[in-house]
Amino acid sequence: MKAESKELPTEIMELQMGPSHPATHGTIKFNLKLEGEKVLDCDVEVGFLHRGFDKSCEQVTWTQVIPYTDRLNYASSLINNVGYALAVEKLIGAETPPRCQYIEVIVSELARIYDHLTCCGMASSELGAITAGFYMIEAREMITRIVEGLTGARLTVTYVRIGGVKHDLPHDFAENVLSTFKTIRKLLDDCDRLLSRNRIFIDRLSNVGVMSQETALSYCLTGPILRATGVNYDVRKAFPYLIYDQLDFEVPLGSRGDNYDRFVCRIREIDQSMKIVEQALAQLPVGPVWIDDPRFVLPEKEKVYGSIEGLMHHFKIIMEGIHVPPGETYFAVEGGNGELGFYIVSDGGGRPYRLRVRPPCFIAMGAFHEMIKGYMVADIVPTFGMVNMIGGECDR
């Protein structure tokens, strides 16, 4: 009997997973230490998509930074636009008109829905629930169409400007959004029926990648990963910006901090975001979408082509860039994956002196080894999926 309980000799195996592994959407490398299938240690290597965002931003004018911010988290590029514009507006000391603020809230929440649908759809299709994945991708495609109708681009939108938005909403926007939400709710109900009582799906997610509240706080995590542990921190509630304090919405919280809670948090956040958009559309005030300040706003085309002053004004803003007073500021918005902060230093010129993004994914990848230690190799894929690492933002 004793011979049976004797343990087999094991050897610690080192395995490199990535950088282009088919199941990790995003270029990232895990240097794993394995004992059988158990992960003993995991060293995360990031930076494969590093393209020098900070350095590039120091070379261009304040407005030219906006297309770069699109390419951070390209699943929620509108939130990045809004976050950057709000940070610069804070440094300028300008406040945009109410209609602009409502539009910025609407587009942020659309981007959040898009981001969460991407994350949940990909995660479920990686676990074999391909149908649910396709339903969510279909819902995502509808959001993309709305965004395309609004901004002209599907991913790299460059819609928000410093001191306003590029242009007002199209006339059939509200109608489109509301009818799309009806379809998305139906699709999400279908997904719910496919997933929420699906034994395989639940077994793969629940009690995997567990993180306690203390660990999550110690690792500076934000967003759905932190809220899945039960910590109520959402930038929209804690430090309200735009008109979020006038809207009625809840912050979904988890309790165990495992992958299943993260999934549920995201799905429930989609519901809340749709609620926010519906409220904002109902309350949408009439008015201008730009601040009334010629220092930051391009003149109308009639003035540019009809008068020398208008032409000079246009030329100055395009060539020199807007002048942001010297100073520094930090402004954070709630991005798809957590607190998306912009720390800006201006020396008074037409270009940023220093522009730093607080990337929520990068910080989450710093805690990844803690989430996966002690679980199986196969658990890496769903855990990584629920972190929703986006290379563009993680590596900048």
Binding site: G47, Y219, G327, R354, R356, R358, I363
Partner: protein
């Protein structure tokens, strides 16, 4: 306004001589701290019930080359979840001895953030458990976010790395040889 004024006053009272200056910038509270005993200062900021800055948002640095002396500033964004108040800590760091104490014992998330600052600015963090480059590769020469690093500088080519125990394709070995031959003594 009164709330934040009292916050700055409380920080000043607790940290005393460590505080070089307190100021308000665009509605944000800023404290400029001395880098000596930095971890102890942050321990007070985190654990004193009156301050209670329990969440570290971000660590970054700014290079004020030929603009300011000392040259670097390491910038910390912290906030208190209970009081819902943010605070920014700036720590001046001179060029000839660019090092500050690491905050990893207080917040484990500081590890990745400090590695990034080390990677891009070359500011060392004393007692950091694992100070390696994070975004760039080990062979990268220089620190790209310093202002004296030209934006169009190209980096030398790097030979293929051999990792112990991994399968190496002979074809790539030949590639390495060719690379060595073409670069000559530069490698």
């Amino acid at each position: 306004m009164a709330e934040t004024d009292s916050q700055l006053a409380a920080v000043q009272a607790k940290l005393g001589a460590k505080v070089i200056e307190t100021l308000r910038s665009q509605g944000d509270d800023v404290v400029i701290l001395d880098r000596g005993g930095l971890r102890e200062s942050f321990r007070l900021l985190k654990q004193e019930p009156a301050l209670d800055f329990d969440f570290l948002s971000d660590i970054t640095a700014v290079d004020y080359w030929q603009k300011k002396e000392p040259r670097f500033e390491v910038v910390y964004q912290i906030f208190s979840r209970a009081r819902r108040a943010r605070l920014r800590i700036r720590v001046p760091v001179p060029d000839n001895d660019s090092a500050v104490e690491s905050l990893v014992p207080l917040w484990r998330g500081a590890s990745f953030l400090e590695r990034e600052v080390w990677d891009l600015f070359g500011i060392r963090f004393i007692d950091h458990p694992d100070l390696r480059r994070v975004l760039l590769y080990d062979e990268f020469v220089g620190y790209p976010l310093r202002k004296d690093y030209p934006v169009n500088l190209t980096q030398p080519r790097v030979p293929e790395r051999t990792v112990n125990g991994t399968f190496v394709d002979e074809r790539s070995r030949n590639k390495l040889l060719r690379l060595k031959k073409s670069l000559g003594s530069k490698l």
